[in-house]
């Protein structure tokens, strides 16, 4: 006769060291084995979609900064792309290059934080996090030099970027790009072959290819499962078709693959940056002639980009007035979290944490 047991409910969050924000997980446990996981979100809901309906098209840009605050320039870019599509605005050449440079810098910045926090979740006591932070600080320095702030950049504008980079930017960027591969190599040395890390991540939290597609996962989560899908390649926006880079994919779809995809993506980002530095025109307009209070024609547009976390889309509906009629934000983190239960059930509490860490979510984006 089996012993009568009752499930053990554990409430991880909203205040928990490894939930990367105010995220709550209601976990049903059998011993330490996870029987069920239910994500409960909304603790950071600020109603950005509603706020955007009463702002002008330009004024929405600072709001988009607050979505994925780890890589906020990519949010600006996605929004600007959709509004440009709506209004049919052509962006100048130099601005396109600056956009690519900054979105790749943001990808690096995001992956630094993602990998660092992931390793921190594995229990490596902040050391990798701080090593990654060192490189991230350099990126943030570059952004501060350009647009005056370190977190919420508000740099992209509809029709270009807000202002040109200062003259000391390019040398600093070149130096950064030159020394970056060495540091990525160091991270690989630090953790890639570490037996404990491999034991913790290999085969843990497998997301099969079919499930990944079915739940609409994107970004490293989808590519870690072995699906070669990168919007930069498959549906190039901005000027990404001019760059030569590869899309790294994983094999099994476990936590290690997602980590490894991110690390290789960082190398590819450096490659794109190297090419962009060479190709960028030295002088030129950086902003199309767009008035501050402009009225795009009535209609709707969907602009999406390959944000560091996945497919970030903005669905903008205009009624021809000064403010957007509706702005829908499609955040990659929210959809990737759908996969959490698939990946974590049957594993232990410790695995749940690293599976969650390997998805790489930002709560500003999930809750909006």
């Amino acid at each position: 006769m089996p012993i009568k047991t009752e499930p053990f409910y554990l409430n991880l969050g909203p205040q928990h060291p490894s939930t990367h924000g105010v995220f709550r997980l209601r976990v049903e446990l059998d011993g330490e084995v996870i029987v069920n996981v239910e994500p409960i979100i909304g603790y950071l809901h600020r109603g950005i979609e509603k706020l955007a309906e009463t702002r002008t098209y330009t004024q929405v840009i600072p709001l988009t900064d607050r979505l994925d605050y780890v890589a906020s320039m990519t949010n600006n870019l996605a929004y600007c792309l959709s509004v440009e599509k709506l209004a049919g605005i052509k962006v100048p050449e130099r601005a396109e290059y600056l956009r690519v440079i900054f979105s790749e810098l943001m990808r690096l910045a995001n992956h630094f934080l993602a990998i660092g926090a992931f390793l921190n979740d594995c229990g490596a006591l902040a050391t990798p996090l701080i090593y990654m932070w060192r490189e991230r600080e350099k990126i943030v320095d570059l952004c501060e030099m350009t647009c005056g702030q370190r977190l919420l950049f508000n740099y992209m504008r509809v029709g270009g970027v807000s202002q040109d980079v200062p003259e000391e930017f390019m040398p600093a960027l070149k130096k950064f790009v030159a020394e970056m591969p060495k540091f990525i190599g160091e991270y690989e040395q630090l953790i890639k072959q570490n037996e404990i890390f491999l034991a913790r991540t290999k085969g843990v939290g497998i997301l099969p290819k079919e499930t990944a597609i079915n739940i609409g996962a994107s970004g490293p989560v989808l590519r870690g499962s072995g699906v070669n899908w990168d919007i930069r390649k498959k549906d190039p926006y901005s000027i990404y078709e001019r760059f030569d880079f590869e899309v790294p994919t994983g094999e099994v779809g476990d936590c290690y693959d997602r980590f490894w995809v991110r690390l290789r993506e960082m190398r590819q980002s450096v490659r794109i940056l190297e090419q962009a530095i060479v190709q960028i025109p030295a002088k030129g307009p950086i902003r199309a002639d767009v008035p501050q209070f402009f009225r795009p024609p009535a209609g709707e547009a969907y602009g999406h980009i390959e944000a560091p976390k996945g497919n970030l889309g903005f669905y903008v509906v205009s009624d021809g007035s000064i403010a957007p009629y509706r702005v829908h934000i499609f955040p990659p983190s929210l959809i990737n979290v759908t996969a959490l239960a698939d990946m974590a059930i049957g594993w232990k509490v410790a695995d749940l944490i690293i599976v969650f860490g390997s998805i790489d979510v930002v709560l500003g984006e999930i809750d909006r």
Partner: protein, 181 residues
């Protein structure tokens, strides 16, 4: 999962951390050591130039928080006189859209960033507090004309000789103590 590499991976990682033991620290001791901020910093206080302001109100329209209060009355023909120009730095999100929108360059972001206040009322910046003084200087955000005299930003990416962040290897006992030293 097997221990296939006999711990070589662990040894490699430990070698790397040992190497980092002899690298300069990343952090700075904030009140004692201060980094130079960007020339374009969107600091915590704005600077307003009354003689350039025409009272057109573009900044108030550009502000997504509705944070700038501008009251004018008609003076001479075709000229507005600004009675009240006020903003609450507690509500401001420092996006810089007002500075960007000003057609007469009458508004600039400030350089200051240590602007903690004890009372909520003190965060309101009126005409006097927004004026240009020696302590209250504009930054070069969207105003490249102010960039000339400002010190170079200290960047982590530069070495010490490039005028970047000052890093010393073993910073034991070589620090000055006390605020602002």
């Amino acid at each position: 999962m097997k221990f296939e590499r006999y711990g070589i991976g662990i040894a490699k990682g430990m070698a790397l951390t040992l190497k980092h033991l002899f690298r300069p620290p990343l952090t700075v001791q904030y009140p004692d050591e201060k980094l130079v901020v960007s020339k374009r910093i969107r600091g915590n206080e704005l600077v307003w130039f009354p003689d350039r302001c025409t009272g057109c109100g573009t900044c108030t329209k550009a502000c997504l928080q509705g944070n700038i209060i501008l009251v004018t009355h008609r003076g001479e023909p075709n000229k507005f006189i600004v009675d009240k120009f006020e903003l609450d730095s507690g509500r401001c999100i420092f996006c810089g859209l007002c500075v960007e929108s000003c057609p007469y360059d009458a508004l600039a972001m400030g350089l200051e960033y240590e602007c903690a206040k004890y009372r909520r009322g003190e965060t309101i910046l009126d005409k006097d507090k927004l004026k240009l003084t020696d302590q209250h200087q504009p930054s070069a955000y969207y105003r490249p004309q102010f960039a000339a005299g400002l010190p170079k930003q200290s960047l982590l990416i530069y070495d010490k000789k490039d005028g970047g962040q000052k890093l010393n290897l073993f910073p034991l006992s070589k620090r000055k103590r006390g605020p602002g030293a």
